[in-house]
Amino acid sequence: MSEIVISTADLRKEFTVSTRVGLLRRARRTVPAVAGVDLTVARGEMLGYIGPNGAGKSTTLKMLTGVLTPSSGEVTVCGFRPVAQRTRLARQIGVVFGQRSQLWWDLPLAESFRLLRYIYRVPAADHAARLAECRRLLDLDAFLDTPVRQLSLGQRMRGEITAALLHSPEVLFLDEPTIGLDVVSKQAVRAFLADLGSRGDTTLVLTTHDLADIEKLCRRLVVIDHGRVVHDGTLPELHARYDSRRRVVVDLDTPWAGRTGVPGAVVEAVEADGHRVTFGLSGGTAGELVAALARDGALRDVAVLEPDIEDVVARLYAEPAGDDRVASR
């Protein structure tokens, strides 16, 4: 196995929450946010860290980046202990938190980039070269001189990603990098990150709820729930394990007569008096199904729905807790 850049052992974080009971009394209880995560990530991996809201994704990321001090457990990133060696680690990692900015609100974007060169102590030539590359790939030129507060979310996110990469980090952490972006910006961000990851030099760790992000960007998925890893593997493995299917929705001119259709597809729903039918694909392809339907009658419209990661994840959580919940890679 190649060089390990992230490793955690039984990583835990508990928060003490105090709630008011009565006039002055407060009840304190301990809530585990991350409850024993073991994770090993090698250089160049593209890791999706997914799970429902409150599962502990962000808390884990914050412990990996030195923002939060773990309650217990071991964590090493790029050879450093994140909190104790925070500033040294900071030079080796890039961080993009989707919902909060790393940029200077009142200054033009270009000015933020210039500042970061001094903060990360990047040699002028390297900085210029990386910035030029990001400007080209992320199309930044149109708004380089605009104060950050006036940027659209999509523009700002492209700026954030550039800001996180100017010091050429070994690991790039992204917390929901595409949240709230329009389609075009999402695609631009995704394509850029996919390109970055494919070079194999930079390790990407991202949390997301977006299936397309996961498909395009994550070769490996770690699913976390209630602070624990419940799945660690590839997306196809995840789908195979939880029997998630692509779906084909067809609109028919004549009502669905209940014919058996093609092998590898099952009828999941019949709506609109039989004019709309939803098939779940389990083995067959959408093309085969559509061809078979077209032979039988007039096909008005076809839509192919990708399996919804949220569905898969929801099914994961529905599984009873047990030893088999922790899948091996």
Binding site: V67, T69, R100, W104, I119, P123, D126, S168
Partner: protein, 281 residues
């Protein structure tokens, strides 16, 4: 061309120095403040008026009594001047550490912690409030007037003390500001609590400590070290024996006291930062 971006930095030339980051943060802060010129000018004037009020309070007191705690008006003005200069220098540098509560509440502190610089110095450099320059100027003016009224007999040692005292007084106030703001790592709404020690400390130091009594004097003057900001240095500058009978050496103790306080504040800060909880998502 594309490969340039991903190559690790190897060129030693053109690499910024270790302090360049802080310097640039400061400069950026100044530039963004100057973007709002009108509000900047108003704050400058407003701050000036505030300090005038402080001086007016001292003068008004002396309309009722010729002597306050064994000190005449010029003497008290000197103490107030030293106290205000210390405080305003500190306020200029770290007064905005109050904004830490916003950083913590909004989670912006996350970004501070992911940069390869000291978190505390980032906050200090990122929040330097130039508008508070007005208070420094005002304090200097009051000090100069007081020194003239008090007929100080100058010696080299006293001149040195006039520089040393406000400098380390500012360090002491700064330590109290930092230690106080650390409370917000545990309790986000802790502003009023730490204000009791920061702004309370400023008001305490503006008068001779002889006007206070009992545990209150002990706690603020010696426990928190506020007596060393203005009171003891003023005694030496005025060549006046301590009515409380303290040794003369106390007049020169502010650097030791201030550095000890800074050490304690740094320690508390380090504990606090480990209790940072960030915010959701």
């Amino acid at each position: 061309m594309a490969d340039l971006l991903w190559r690790r930095a190897t060129t030693p030339t053109g690499r910024p120095g270790a302090l360049a980051g802080y310097r640039q943060l400061l400069a950026a802060q100044v530039r963004s403040q100057l973007q709002y010129r009108a509000s900047f000018a108003m704050d400058l004037v407003g701050n000036l008026l505030l300090t005038l009020m402080d001086v007016a309070a001292v003068v008004v007191l002396f309309r009722v009594t010729p002597v306050l705690g064994g000190f005449t008006l010029p003497e008290v003005l000197l103490i107030s001047g030293l106290a205000n200069l210390s405080f305003s220098l500190c306020d200029l540098a770290v007064g905005n550490i109050d904004t830490m509560r916003q950083y913590i509440r909004t989670g912006r502190f996350d970004a501070v912690l992911t940069r390869p610089l000291s978190a505390l110095l980032q906050l200090v450099c990122g929040d330097l409030a130039l508008r508070r320059l007005g208070r420094v100027t005002q304090a200097v003016v009051v000090l100069v007037i007081a020194l003239n009224l008090a007929h100080v007999r100058w010696t080299p040692a006293r001149a040195v003390l006039l520089v040393v005292a406000p400098s380390f007084g500012a360090v002491l106030f700064g330590s109290v500001f930092v230690a106080g703001s650390t409370v917000s790592f545990w309790f986000i709404e802790s502003g009023e609590f730490s204000n009791a020690f920061t702004y309370g400390g400023r008001d305490f130091t503006a008068y001779p400590i002889t006007v206070y009594a009992g545990w209150f004097r002990k706690a603020f003057a010696y426990g928190l070290g506020f007596a060393f900001v203005a009171y003891y240095p003023a005694l030496a500058i005025l060549d006046k024996p301590d009515p409380l009978g303290g040794p003369r050496l106390l007049s020169w103790s502010s650097p030791v006291v201030a550095l000890a306080a800074a050490g304690v504040a740094a320690f508390i800060w380090r504990i606090g930062i480990r209790h940072y909880r960030s915010t959701g998502s």
